[in-house]
Amino acid sequence: MEIKNLNIFGKNKKVFIKRGNQGNPVVILFHGFPDNFFIWKNVSAGVDERYYQLGINLSDLAGVSLNEAKLIFLSLLKNSGLPLDNGIYFVGHDIGGPVMSYLGDVVKNDIRGSIFLNSLDLDSYRKNIISKQVFKSWYAIVFQLSPYRWAIKNNLLFGKQLFKKLANSHKGEIDFGSIDFYKLFFNSLIGIRNIPTLRGPVFYILSKDDPYIKIPSRKYLNGDITVVRGDHWSVFFDDSISIRIINKKLKSWDLDYAKLKN
């Protein structure tokens, strides 16, 4: 895992990069709330070495308009120096899933598939909204208040201590920078406008005991699903079955793509 500083429109942005074997796709990792790209440490080590990997911090894209966020994302990709023309896979956790849906059209033709880890794409969230999911996403409603978001971002209201109490299975660093995405996310769910959808196949890995996701019925999903044991953050443990599932899925998509190409 190599941390790289990139100059994006005059500002320093950190990304993590892992080099793969020539000719293979890039896996772009989108963390959730309240994490940063370090949450991917174990997953990144377990993902097949053939793939290039790029981890971004969502806080670098938050707090600006969606178009600006897309521009920053595009610049991060270009400046990373990774070979994007071999195809791209998206892997996102928590709010990282909906963010993938927003940013998908930046690289739409290059996306070969998207994996949602304890997360759903925007369309599935919207279809699933009239269900227990509303109660499981209670925090997203609280996050709509601007003063609350400001306080959380500045670690007021004992934000970190409170979070550790509420989510005691969370391990690692806490970074509240991605909280602004919840405003966009909420507007997309209740709005009447069309919401962005991702190109390519979609796959969900959901934990059975995740307190923030209600596992939807198949008619509300846009792709295959695998339910695993554990809770919201257990997919990041180094012995997590999710890492093996990700590798299996990427390999099967590679084969599908090769068949399609031939």
Binding site: R218, R229, I241
Partner: protein
């Protein structure tokens, strides 16, 4: 019984591959063209209620009749599982998806259940042919489930999110494993077709019996609290009562054997036994059927289902057991 982890898609995939690689085909039974009517089906010991009151040739036909009853009961229950697939399996995995691997294991389970009922049907066909009666004639003396009230109850229960069918399936799977275990020490005295059929059935049942428990775990994990609690309070008691009452009511059909007594000595000898059974009162007969009757007691006597009993206790189901 090996119970894989419902949420380990790799373990489920390995189990399915093992089931497929070791599966047998119906061609296994092509070598059997008739039934040896000088051999037993169900082993009968000296504790048998009529042991000292009937002739050896009558004892032989009773053993064969009990074997036919168990074959027909297993065959009918396995077909009922297949017929209730939409309400009790497809709708559930649609509402509560787990993984592609689990669904593949489920599909294989239904393929094997269908194959088992076909195999039991082959035996019953062969028996009808050997004893000069038609299949519909033999159906009149054996347990039949098709479109009965019990089957409709299972489907309705499945539609409202219940678990009754899977509780009965778990019981039937375990019972059919026990049937072969009881048969094994008497291999030489049992008709080769009957023995081979149960041996092959046993092999696949031991590999896939866990599927009913995986379905129960899935429904319990994902149903709402209220449905889960109601289900745990009534589903097992109801399914137990229905299963037992079905077998008892179907056994009464044995009286129809008199109509076939001119077709073959098997039916003639069996009809001679009926008056001797009638000497016992209903309480004595039911008590005997529940406790000691070869094979049939496995269905009627709940204590035989050890794995299921353990599961029911662990999950705190209400039961009459």
């Amino acid at each position: 019984m090996y119970l894989p982890d419902l949420y380990d898609c790799f373990g489920l995939d390995d189990l399915k591959k093992k089931q497929v690689s070791k599966a047998w085909s119906l061609e296994e039974f092509e070598k059997f063209h008739s039934i040896n009517l000088n051999k037993n089906f169900a082993p009968i010991n000296k504790d048998f209620i009529l042991h000292d009151k009937i002739e050896p040739n009558e004892l032989l036909v009773v053993s064969q009749f009990l074997g036919l009853v168990i074959n027909s009961a297993i065959c009918e229950l396995e077909l009922a599982i297949e017929r209730s697939k939409k309400e009790c399996y497809l709708n559930i995995i649609q509402r509560f998806p787990v993984s592609k691997e689990f669904e593949e294991l489920g599909e294989n389970f239904f393929i094997e259940e269908k194959k088992h009922s076909d195999a039991f049907n082959l035996f019953l066909d062969c028996f009808s042919k050997t004893t000069n009666v038609t299949r519909s004639q033999i159906r009149n003396i054996l347990p039949i489930l098709n479109e009965s009230k019990i089957e409709k109850f299972f489907r309705l229960n499945g539609i409202i999110g219940g678990q009754a069918l899977w509780l009965v399936t778990a019981a039937v799977e375990e019972e059919s494993i026990e049937v072969f275990k009881k048969m094994r020490p008497h291999k030489d005295s049992i008709d080769p077709f009957f023995y081979h059929l149960h041996k092959k059935h046993f092999e696949e049942e031991t590999r896939h019996a866990s599927f009913a428990f995986l379905m129960l775990e899935l429904i319990n994990d994902r149903s709402t609290f209220a449905i889960k609690k109601v289900s745990q309070c009534i589903d097992f008691i109801l399914s137990d009562i229905l299963q037992v009452s079905w077998v008892l009511s179907e056994l009464i059909k044995m009286d129809n054997v008199r109509k076939l007594k001119d077709c073959h000595p098997f039916y003639e000898n069996l009809s001679k036994v009926l008056p001797k059974i009638n000497e016992y009162n209903i309480v004595q007969l039911i008590s005997y059927l529940f406790k000691e009757s070869p094979f049939v007691s496995l269905i009627l006597n709940p204590r035989s289902n050890k794995v299921l009993s353990k599961y029911l206790m662990k999950e705190k189901y209400l039961s009459l057991r």
